[in-house]
């Protein structure tokens, strides 16, 4: 994580006011982590359960589904687009994999589900990448269409896995490796891999180029359509991974199980400081954003606040976090617009 921070710090100019620059610099690069740490300390003081190993591993497991999707969506957003279809796609993929599990066995079920999810990613990628349609509206339309397809596929029935104890499918959602839950491994593993892809490969550089300055990218020979297409495949792939976790964890699925995930995912990505304008952002920061959301929710519940308190807190936290980011880049707190 330190590596990215250093890289992000490069564009900061040296001002004559060294001290202020340092504060700005610190806030810009570490602001989110500082806020996160303060949060953890505050909750730990307020609730004796919060900092327990049990609780932390529970939260890490619970955020794994949102986190796994968010990692993929981060790449779409860095490429300058949005993906609102992930919630519906999560429902669709989970229903598909759970339903096929008992019919054709876990292995083929997972394969077919990944193929179907990637096909949806292809459609998004074709429409946004090659047909150059607006990503917000395309994925909004897909959100509705995939929801309908899920219902048509299942006939509106819940799907269940009959033999919950005997299937190796249980590994993905319920098992532990070295004391850490498998969903957490999947989430963090994907995060590391995609972080490397994004920061160490030509493809990663192209994603930043396409999102940051499409015209310049085009001049330097980057094919925007292909890059955007690939980002949607990655997003669909991550969502399919999340569906495996979800299906295995619950051993069943409802047709609306992913409803609303797209917004929670987006909130995590934004909180991490990835700009919706594209061209900037990082996966480690998204991981932190998702963790903050997870710990806020968990902490408030442990303290006995009603579940909707987290929405109010999230409201304030998101705006403050992004404001901090924007303000430090601007070098002043408020805009000068009249």
């Amino acid at each position: 994580m330190a590596k990215t921070d250093v890289e992000l710090a490069v564009p900061v100019r040296r001002d004559p006011w060294i001290t202020r620059d340092k504060v700005v610099h610190l806030l810009q690069t570490k602001g989110l982590l500082i806020a996160f740490a303060l949060f953890l300390v505050a909750f730990s003081l307020a609730s004796d359960r919060f900092a327990s190993v049990d609780n932390i591993s529970t939260v890490l497991r619970q955020v794994a589904i949102v986190g796994t999707i968010a990692v993929g969506v981060t790449i779409v957003v860095i490429g300058g687009n949005l993906d609102l279809s992930v919630g519906s796609l999560l429902s669709f993929s989970t229903v598909l994999v759970v339903d096929l599990h008992d019919k054709i066995g876990p292995g083929p079920a997972i394969l077919i589900m990944f193929a179907a999810a990637l096909a949806v990613g292809c459609v998004n990628g074709l429409l946004v990448g090659f047909a150059r349609l607006n990503s917000l509206i395309v994925t909004l339309g897909m959100l509705s269409a995939i929801q309908g397809l899920t219902l048509i596929y299942s006939g509106g029935q819940n799907v269940d896995i009959a033999d919950q104890e005997g299937t190796w499918f249980a590994f993905f959602g319920r098992d532990f490796l070295l004391g850490v839950a498998v969903p957490t491994w999947i989430f963090l593993g994907l995060a590391v891999i995609l972080h490397v892809v994004l920061t160490r490969t030509t493809f990663g550089r192209k994603v930043f180029a396409v999102g940051g300055n499409p015209t310049a990218a085009a001049f330097s020979g980057v094919r925007r359509a292909r890059v955007v297409f690939s980002t949607y495949l990655i997003s669909a792939f991550c969502t399919a991974c999340a569906a495996v976790i979800l299906g295995s964890r619950v051993m069943g699925s409802q047709n609306n199980v992913g409803q609303g995930y797209e917004l929670v995912v987006l909130a995590g990505v934004i909180l991490g400081g990835t700009s919706l304008l594209g061209g900037s952002g990082s996966i480690p920061k998204t991981v932190v954003g998702v963790l903050i959301l997870g710990f806020i929710q968990n902490g408030l519940l442990l303290l006995g606040y009603p579940y909707y308190a987290q929405w109010l807190v999230t409201w304030v936290v998101i705006i403050l976090a992004v404001w901090l980011d924007v303000a430090s880049k601007r070098g002043r707190l408020f805009t000068t617009t009249s």
Partner: protein, 311 residues
């Protein structure tokens, strides 16, 4: 499903043509949210099947998708079409009162199904057909008292906030628990939104928060099984799980001895009861105002008497 509908359409068109003299009874239904869970889907299927099986009935089947405003629109559409009776599964018991009144004023009898309408609307409906959710909550409380020998600490996972069924079951449970075994304390209630995965997460948080929980009441078995998943994963197999609306997964868990009890409620019966009530109202027959169908307790002891739910 689509084919079923099309044949029903074709069938009804043919009926209108061939037997115009006989004038089929046109009954419109606006459901709450089909597809959100198996209960509602099975209900819809059973309703369509029952309507098709009855040559005298022609059904217009609509679904509000859980949106009150859309349901009001569908009611207005049905009034506009001049159906002979309307069955409504309220998305919200209070918010549909004015449009039910509108139907009443247009001379169309309204039958409320599954989930009761607010009292202010009682004057405008012909009958309520469905389960008694308050009683179901009470049943659950009685089973909880039995299971815990009248003392213990329980948590509650309620249905979607703001929905009548969720509110009534919660109220029935809380009131009866306080009456029948005041030493059983509800330590916390959180909504599970009729969603198994959400219920699982809520239960995980409960388990971290409280070491000494003895029982869990869930607004339906779908959520109850989610809570059971969480408890099993945490190695807490000493908890008593009680639910409502017995789902197939709940029935199976009961068979394995992991789930204590629930309330048996058949969507097929629910749907047939609604259609029969509406038809009787149109035919001018006398129907009871509260036409409850039986929703008995189901526990590990008596589950042999019940068929496994199909949903």
């Amino acid at each position: 499903m689509k084919r079923a509908l099309i044949t029903s359409l074709v069938g009804s068109v043919a009926l209108v043509g061939a037997a115009a003299a006989q004038e089929p009874i046109r009954i419109g239904i606006t459901q709450n949210n089909v597809g959100v869970d198996s209960y509602q889907t099975t209900y819809e299927k059973a309703f369509i099947e029952a309507a098709e099986a009855d040559p005298q009935v022609e059904a217009v089947v609509l679904d509000a998708g859980g949106d009150v405003a859309r349901q009001i629109g569908q009611m207005q559409d049905l009034i506009q079409q001049g159906v002979d009776a309307i069955i409504i599964w309220p998305t919200n018991g209070q918010a549909v009162v004015p449009v039910v009144r509108q139907a009443h004023q247009a001379g169309i009898p309204v039958v409320v199904t599954n989930s009761q309408i607010a009292e202010a609307g009682f004057d405008f409906i012909a009958s309520f057909s469905g389960p008694d959710n308050i009683t179901q909550g009470r049943y659950a409380a009685e089973m909880m008292c039995d299971a815990l020998d009248d003392a213990g600490r329980v948590v509650q996972i309620a249905g979607q906030p703001g929905y009548t069924t969720a509110i009534e079951r919660q109220k029935g449970f809380e009131d009866a628990l306080a009456e029948q075994c005041p030493d059983v304390e509800i330590v916390e209630t959180q909504p599970g939104d009729w969603n198994r995965e959400k219920a699982q997460r809520v239960m995980e948080n409960f388990l971290t928060k409280y070491d000494d929980i003895d029982g869990v009441y869930s607004g339906d078995d779908n959520m109850g099984v989610g809570a059971l998943n969480a408890a099993k994963a945490a190695g807490r197999d000493d908890l008593v799980f009680i639910g409502a609306t017995n789902f197939a997964v709940g029935y199976e868990a009961m068979g394995r001895g992991e789930y204590w009890g629930s309330v048996y409620q058949s969507p097929v019966e629910d749907a047939r009861n609604a259609l029969a009530t509406a038809k009787a109202v149109v035919m001018g027959e006398e129907v009871p105002f509260l036409n409850y169908f039986d929703t008995p307790k189901i526990t590990q002891d008596n589950m042999g008497e019940f068929d496994k739910p199909v949903f």
